[in-house]
Symmetry: C2
Subunit: 330 residues, 2 copies
């Protein structure tokens, strides 16, 4: 910095002001400094700036799994809102490894971030609370009770209801559900399915096949359904991957979708959009969840709110080619 000041023929203070984009600096001085810096290859040392200014205006963003495009979409909203608000971000991915998640959170705290955005982390509640301490945080896709952590959730219950209402409106009454087991949101989807079936007076047709969020579970689930006495006319799958697995089993059995079977997924993942699959599904407002999470965090960091809140985002139905009126009847 000293060297740049000398080369530009100004004081060190002035160079400092230039890099703080201070309006007190004349355009001419600014140009002189910038030219000298470019010539000398000077860049202000960010660590020194943060140490001296005692502020980072940075958030740490932890992704559960970089392989899952689901989190990429949430991250879009997170990144856009962070940029828009003039903050910086530090990011990391645990990649389904809670030890690594803990390390990233520690690193973020060592770097004195102003807050933490955590997308469906795997670390157990107690450990997470202990690690985060009193740093402001926001959790997306997971609930927790803490005074300094807000939550943004998706309404799985109402998503399931959208799926069942759609199938019923097409004329289906025998609708089975292949569940997502212990997966995130799976319980809410089962409950929404049960409630929706009951609300349509279809409690006798309730049929839940246990599964998990994998293609294989969908295939096994559909095979199981095809072997039942009273084969349903429609399947509501816990997510798109499960739906794709179910569709593969149906195709193998010589059944056509949607002629012989209607299938609804959940997530509106990339595969749902493929022409070969063309899956009717439930879409969650992912980017909006991410943006909302950052908004909540900023409210807190800037002292506008101290009490924790939970936001619940509403999903929407996306109709494609995997659902139609039933042709079979029980």
């Amino acid at each position: 910095m000293e060297d740049v000041a000398k080369a530009a023929g100004v004081s060190r203070s002035l160079v400092s002001l230039v890099y703080q984009s201070s309006p007190k600096v004349s355009a001419q001085s600014r140009r002189q400094v910038e030219r000298a810096a470019a010539r000398l290859g000077y860049r202000p040392n960010e660590m020194a700036r943060r140490l001296a200014s005692r502020t980072t205006r940075t958030f740490g963003v932890l992704l559960n799994d970089i392989h899952n495009p689901f989190f990429a979409e949430v991250h879009d909203g997170v990144q856009a809102m962070i940029e828009e608000s003039g903050y910086k971000l530090l990011m990391g991915t645990g990649d389904r490894n809670s030890r690594r998640e803990a390390e990233f959170i520690s690193t973020f705290l060592d770097h004195r971030v102003d807050g933490l955005v955590m997308l469906s982390p795997r670390i157990p509640d107690a450990e997470l609370l202990n690690l985060v301490g009193s740093t402001p945080g926001v959790l997306v896709g997971r609930a927790i009770r803490s005074n300094n952590i807000d939550c943004v959730l998706n309404n799985d219950d109402s998503g399931a209801k959208l799926a069942i209402d759609h199938l019923v409106s097409l004329g289906h009454s025998s609708i089975a559900h292949i569940s997502g087991g212990n997966g995130a949101g799976a319980k809410g989807r089962v409950e929404g399915y049960l409630a929706a079936m009951r609300s349509h007076g279809l409690e006798k047709n309730i049929l839940v096949v246990p599964g998990e969020y994998t293609e294989e579970a969908g295939t096994r689930g559909a095979e199981q359904l095809l072997a039942t006495k009273q084969v349903p006319t429609a399947i509501f799958a816990a997510n798109d991957l499960v739906a794709a697995g179910a569709m593969a089993a149906l195709a193998k059995a010589g059944l056509k979708v949607p002629r012989d079977f209607s299938v609804v997924g959940y997530d509106n993942a990339a595969l749902a959009r493929l022409g070969l699959i063309s899956l009717t599904t439930i879409e969650q407002p992912l980017a909006e969840s991410g943006a909302d999470a950052v908004r909540l965090l900023i409210e807190r960091v800037e002292g506008e709110r101290t009490r924790p809140v939970t936001h619940i985002m509403e999903p929407a139905l996306v109709i494609r080619g995997s659902t139609a009126r039933p042709t079979r009847h029980r």
Copy 2:
């Protein structure tokens, strides 16, 4: 730090040594310090440590697009090798936006990273070289001429050859290629296709349909092929998404894969593994490319090498259900 020293009844120097995991500290002192730190909620300030020690042992990792699981796999290798070598990482994603890429690279440099790992960045060569300056770097999936940047590429040419050899070995002779246009590696795949067809004496059957790396391009390409006079018996698609698009067009035309048509993709993306698609494809050693990139960077950073090198990774054929002997013949 002062407070922790007092609370633990030791000197500031000792506390510093504890956090440097110095072997000179007795187990007892270490415990005392750790207990005091935990009680006071003390964490060493990473910015101060880096500033004082004048070392970061950190690499900046820039992803082209977090939505593409392709880069997630490369990142796996990058992250594993960085951890294994005792370095830290700072990551960022440009999300197909070269302005944002430039900002992340700048941020990494402001944080004084020891080197840069860039996964298929979009920034033009000149701008990239100017930005990176003399910082050691490594480029994955893209070539560049620079004294301080190494490259790790995939052999698209030989991948295309694997695809054509496989189809020829099944008995196909009329094999068309739907190209990837300006996409990364697309040119090499076209060239590999042309060379392989020639090497099998099939130059008269060469047929390249221009496309891009999208499903729609695959659909359009296949429709175009079905309208030609001499319809081929097999398609080599520039990537898996293109192959999926082509398969959708074939299904729409009432054609069965692999009975009426064999299809080979490229990438071995998640969709290639779906039961409904079951695509024979070319797999690139993505995680290995990432790990190799970090190895090259460390060689450079630790002064073991100063001249730039380029590594070319070899792909492999993955056979699934989309290829079979031809039943039609021209």
